[in-house]
């Protein structure tokens, strides 16, 4: 029965989507903006939150009606897979002929598609990837990014945890994807810059379930680690945290960066998630205009940590189109890079690599099963305590 309702609902949504282009006013020409994110696969929840947020930006721009065009969001699914990403990026640039696109949660996918967007000279604003090479390595004029790189994320994390809170002895684990590797390198650099000692380094393949052999070894270290860092994403992080508790590594701080910033981590790790410290995506207050508009629009999925970034990147594209027009792509790319934009994340301005200079990050702590901004948390007030050193 439930499945039947599901099919009915999906059918209805599809029908609505197919009708959508015809709703627009006929006297305006249509300008397309592309969206790519993981709508299926392991990161689907984050991708759908981002898709809805980008959709909200386009809907609101159309509702305001002060542009001489009707905007249309063309949504594509990269399934967190580089080859799928390249295929849909090519489709956006050729068949759909989008003016610009906002794209990707996964760094490996972005590392593959920047070449496609560069070849077709289509501006691409990244809403969720953090690998430094995406902007720095080739410095394609089409590529910009509204979220922080792993270097910035780790500098901020370690500056707080090592320098301010004084955790000196570290064990580092990371997954062996290009995302995990870039996190590991940035974490190592930031730890060394702050004078911390790294006791162990262990890479783990994605899909690893058993961290116990390594954790058992960490227990034999003397003196043992005061903090454990994990460079990876939610599932492995939750397993690692659960097994730390099971094997008896207590009173050790667990940390990570934005890869852990989903409440799936808190839900899956349960009680032991408490006191985990991360640098997460900027927390948006529930009273912000974005949140109230998102709720009003009635999307089924939560906007997730990535929503505000996709919302800002889409609005940034819309503002640039309003300024430079949609047809001259090189001019549009140049305009995007030169934007002085104010959005839900605050101001966004790009450096010479197209990388945002402003953070978009918030220090968060797992408190009572949720990611809470450090400022104002029970931990900052002293009502709860992080693990002893």
């Amino acid at each position: 029965m439930e499945r039947r309702t599901f099919i009915k609902r999906t059918g209805a949504t599809l029908a609505a989507l197919m009708c959508a282009p015809s709703i627009g006013r006929a006297d305006k020409s249509v300008v397309k903006i592309g969206f790519i994110g993981p709508l299926t696969g392991p990161n689907a929840a984050l991708g759908m939150g981002a898709r809805n947020s980008a959709d909200l930006a386009v809907r609101r721009a159309n509702a305001r009606g002060n542009l001489p065009y009707q905007l249309q969001l063309v949504v594509m699914d990269d399934a967190s897979d580089p080859s799928t990403g390249v295929a849909v990026a090519t489709k956006l640039c050729t068949v759909e002929n989008v003016a610009a696109a906002t794209a990707h949660f996964n760094s490996p996918v972005a590392l593959a598609t920047i070449h496609v967007f560069h070849r077709y000279k289509v501006p691409q604003v990244m809403w969720g990837t953090i690998h430094p090479d995406i902007t720095n390595k080739h410095n394609f004029p089409e590529v910009t990014r509204v979220c922080a790189t792993s270097i910035v994320e780790h500098a901020e994390l370690m500056n707080f945890v090592v320098k301010e809170r004084g955790y000196q002895r570290w064990s580092v684990l990371y997954d062996t994807t290009s995302y995990g590797q870039s996190c590991f390198e940035a974490a190592k650099k930031a730890l060394q810059a702050n004078g911390a000692t790294i006791l162990s380094e262990d890479g783990v393949p994605v899909g690893t379930q058993d961290f116990r052999p390594v954790l058992s070894r960490l227990k034999t270290l003397s003196p043992g680690p005061q903090a454990i860092y994990f460079g990876g994403v939610v599932t492995e992080a939750a397993l690692l945290r659960l097994q730390m508790a099971e094997i008896g590594i207590n009173d050790v701080l667990f940390t990570g960066v934005t890869g852990l910033d989903s409440d799936t981590f808190n839900k899956t790790a349960g009680n032991v998630a408490e006191g985990t410290l991360i640098v997460g995506k900027k927390a948006i207050g529930d009273d912000s205009e974005f949140v109230s508009e998102y709720k009003k629009a009635g999307y089924k999925e939560y906007y997730e940590a990535s929503g505000p970034f996709a919302y800002d990147s889409t609005n940034l594209i819309i503002a640039a189109i309003a300024k430079a027009g949609p047809s001259d792509k090189a001019q549009l790319a140049k305009t995007i890079r030169g934007m002085d934009f104010n959005g839900v994340l605050g101001p966004t301005r790009f450096d010479e690599f197209g990388q945002t200079k402003t953070g978009g990050l918030t220090l968060k702590v797992s408190q009572a099963g949720k990611w809470a901004p450090w400022q104002g948390s029970d931990y900052a007030r002293g009502a709860r305590a992080l693990p002893k050193k």
């Binding site: 392991p42 929840a45 262990d202 890479g203 899909g207 379930q209 058992s216 599932t235 939750a238």
Partner: protein
Amino acid sequence: MTHFLEVSFIALMLSSTYILIAVGFTLFFGAINIVHFAHGDVAMLGAFVAIILYGTADALGLIGGSPIWVWAPLLAAAIAVATGGLGLLFERTIIKPFRASPMLITLVATVALGIIVRESVRLFYPQGSNPQVFPNLFGQSGIRLGELYFRTGHLVMLGLSLLLIIAMILLIRRTRIGLSIRAVSQNIEAASLSGINPDVVIMLTFFIGSILAGVAGVLIGSYYSMIKFDVGLMYGIKGFSAAVVGGLGNFYGAILGGLTLGVIETFASAYVPEGMAYKDVYAFLIVIFFLVFKPSGILAEKQYEKV
């Protein structure tokens, strides 16, 4: 020493999941010479069935309302029947129609079945893409032996797996059912001439094999406190490899193969520098080693069958 004992226990837990899955591969191969590549996904289904049935029993008030030794065996029986039934359903619909076809056809069909099972769980289970929390039946309780600490839940699951493996040995060696299974795997025509209905025996093999995979799934779920839709693929490949290393078709071989893979993976992760990153490489190097130098596996295939 404590570290060594702890790692040995971890290896034993991992090995028993591999063994439970490998036994299925070996039973199916022994009975009708097929490789059932969705068998790892049956294990995953077992864990999901357990979550659903546990949730239902909890909602009906069975779990809070009666002591654990009343509801736990009932729940276990329900999970076993449901998972065994699913395995049987797959045999009837996907494997049986290809029984006369070359082995490769069944192989492709079961690979496809595995993909369908995984994707169905992902699409139709609520929030199916995310890892699902597995109910913790035994709480945080445990037993402390010096510096070693064992969770009650883990010990119960390990004990249950060992019991099941011993029960399987007895079933195969000592009972009429076991005799029929052995007879069918030796010579299906001769078996039917002596009054055994091979179809019933094959169905029974799939029912039992799938139950064992379901137990492996529950073991995985409770050992890691979570289950994800895509874990079956990896466990399927590891279980199959374990069966090959031990000698495909040989029941004791599956046990030896599962132990070999589990021990190598765990000890490489714990003792070799960078070992965690390459644990699968070490495990599959062993598989390749056996394929090249002793393709029949540790125990030569079907040693007790060729009279």
